[in-house]
Amino acid sequence: MNFDDNPEEAAYRAEVRAWIEGNAPDLSVLTAEERRTWHPAHKEAARQWQVVKADAGYACISWPREWGGSGGTNIQEAIFNQEEARAGVQFTYFMTGLHFLLPALLEHNQDELTLSLIPSAVRGDKIWCQLFSEPSSGSDSAGARCAAVRDGDDWVINGQKVWNSGAQASDYGLLLTRTNPDVPKHKGLTVFWVDMTTPGLEVRPIKMMSGDAELNEVFLTDVRIPDCQRVGEIDGGWAVVISTLMNERAALGSGTGLSWRDVMALARQTPSWEGTVMDDPAFREWFADYYIRTEAVRLTSFRTLSSLSRGEAPGPESSAGKLLWSNSTQDMSSQAVDLLDMSGLLVDAEDAAANGAFQHRFLWAPGLRLGGGTDEILKNVIAERVLGLPGDVRLDKGVPFREIPSGR
């Protein structure tokens, strides 16, 4: 066990730290308003940084060179990410495409057309989104109803998608469709990539309870795409879905956002009966419990990395990491709001402690337990894939898709 860098790792870290210091964008020139995610100025700064990284070979460090990557190791990529986060220049716009979708796409399609899509994504010129979930099938991706019907060399697609993160600003999407409703549900799915400007495709942002609107509904009406945009086999789409979900859970398991340091800073500046909240033994016990959980998320993501660096697939420990992170974040945001007492109600940056970051987190927290696999689905994953317990009793197994009860 060694949580230190070895000499090569330390050298690499020093190299990228220096490079980041010399090349990172200066976000301080943006106003507070412009610094919010999805603000055009913020997005443009992120895009420019992506170009700089791509030119220097830091955009997709662990990808093979033939995909436009640098052929580096997962450890190197993780070190770069850590240093990027340390410098405060980590952006989420390209994560879905570069970490979840494109590796899955390239796993199944290696043709020239597919490869031609990659450089623009690596440079941040094009953004990708996932078009899997549907209104009647949230946790149950295989329950997709969006219909793709063959018409000559084309497919004609009708249906609706939902919870599509970033779709309002995306250029391409990976789309899950049903191509055969007469076989059991996992066996009649096909995946395509689509240009988001294709006629008949309409994106409508969904306002979330936090007031943000980066999730969307996507309506598809007689959308026509050529068969060459199909990913993997006809009716073989489930394999593509699985690839992306594995990538997604590995990424989410590492946790992001406010950390124990932020909570500690808040506690130290908030008065209590005696001294500050940080001096309160009840808070200190809570804080110790919270700390070991967030540390576990961080340390478990290192273990995922150890597996990756040995060429193994990320294990289901990343499901545990995602559960821990989302639940302890909700608990933390609740605690942070409460320790402010009545002032915890204030949300505006100018009124609220820590510029309202904890209140914003409090309102986002319910979503963390839903996106990227709900608590309930992830516990099933752990029970079944790690512990080998039986699957839930399935009433839909082997049943033709159109006969599965849906309550509608």
Binding site: S133, P135, S136, S137, G138, S139, D140, G143, V162, W163, I206, K207, M208, M209, G211, Q269, T270, P271, S272, W273, V277, F283, Q330, S334, V337, D338, L339, L340, D341, M342, S343, G344, L345, L346, V347, D348, D351, A353, F362, L363, P366, G367, R369, L370, G371, T374, D375, E376, K379, N380, D392, R394, L395, D396, V399, I404, P405, S406, G407, R408
Partner: protein, 376 residues
Amino acid sequence: MNFDYTDEQKSLKDEARRFLAAVSPLTAVRAVLEEPGIGHDPALWKRICEQGWCGAAIPEGYGGLGMGYVDLCALAEELGRSLAPVPFASTIYQFAEALVIAGNEEQKQRLLPLVSAGEIIGTLAASEGPGVLRSDALKVRYVDGKLSGTKVPVIDGLAANWAIVLAASDEGSVLVLVDLSQGSVQREVVATLDPTRGAARIHFDGAAGEVIGQAGQGAQLLARVQDHAAVLLAFEQVGGADRCLEMARDYALERYAFGRQIGSYQAIKHKLADMFIANEVGRANAYYGAWALSTQAPELPLAAAAARVAASAAYWQASKENIQTHGGIGFTWEADCHLFYRRARHLGLVVGAPRDWKRRLATRIEQQVAAEGIAA
């Protein structure tokens, strides 16, 4: 012994539920949410005042109905269920109760009839900044009949005509009754986690005010007012938590995943059972608080703290697990789940956070045990 509402109280409660369902559907709550800064629904407030609810527990001698606190608890439960966006809690549970507890006869005669008639909106201003309220470190001061300093957040602080303000004075902490219409009072909206319940920052710049209750006893009087409010708020919390459970139950019956109602999965069944249990803990402690409040039993401080701790925990659990049960749809602005998540935290903080009340509870258990020791 009787551990439930009387039949008359049940009728009152049923009637209130029907009334609120008609005049305060969640669309009305949402309308307040969508209009930043409005803070309450004046038309709804007028209709509620017309029902006479403001005077429910105010003695007949002061223009009230003198129905007693358990009846008011029944109304509070229904107000909590409906999320009615009105300044009822500030005006009735806090401002009026402060007058009842601390006001002199003249003050009561002057103001309680106006409260009963729904002609004024009142509030109580204590919080000054982040962290637990410490009455030994108040920055708002009361000197020579004048108030100076800033209170924030003050719930319904913009809508209110009158406030009772906790301030420091040469004699110690003091409750001060202030007419908010005077020029030396400046108010501005502050945005909060629950936009359906307005809040303000209030600057007092030498505003005229009169002492209510004994000077130097402000903190003690405030604690008594908060005990009354804690019981009444607990009923709003229990009402809201019950509705969250019902919403989650209904959705679990309606929604299918993997070919089955999601309510047929034990993960959902047991989550809802846990919500039910937490709500029962809230309800049982709230009922005991109602009894102690209505009889002004010596157990009131203990029962009020227990009711607040239990009901705050229940509503938090119910409001967050209701969203979780709904899945992604529950996280949207359009779904009603977040109205309850917001209100749950609002109610959990308005007279002080649970960590404060847990300590009050521990202290009061000790006092109760000490008193028993003396009595035995």
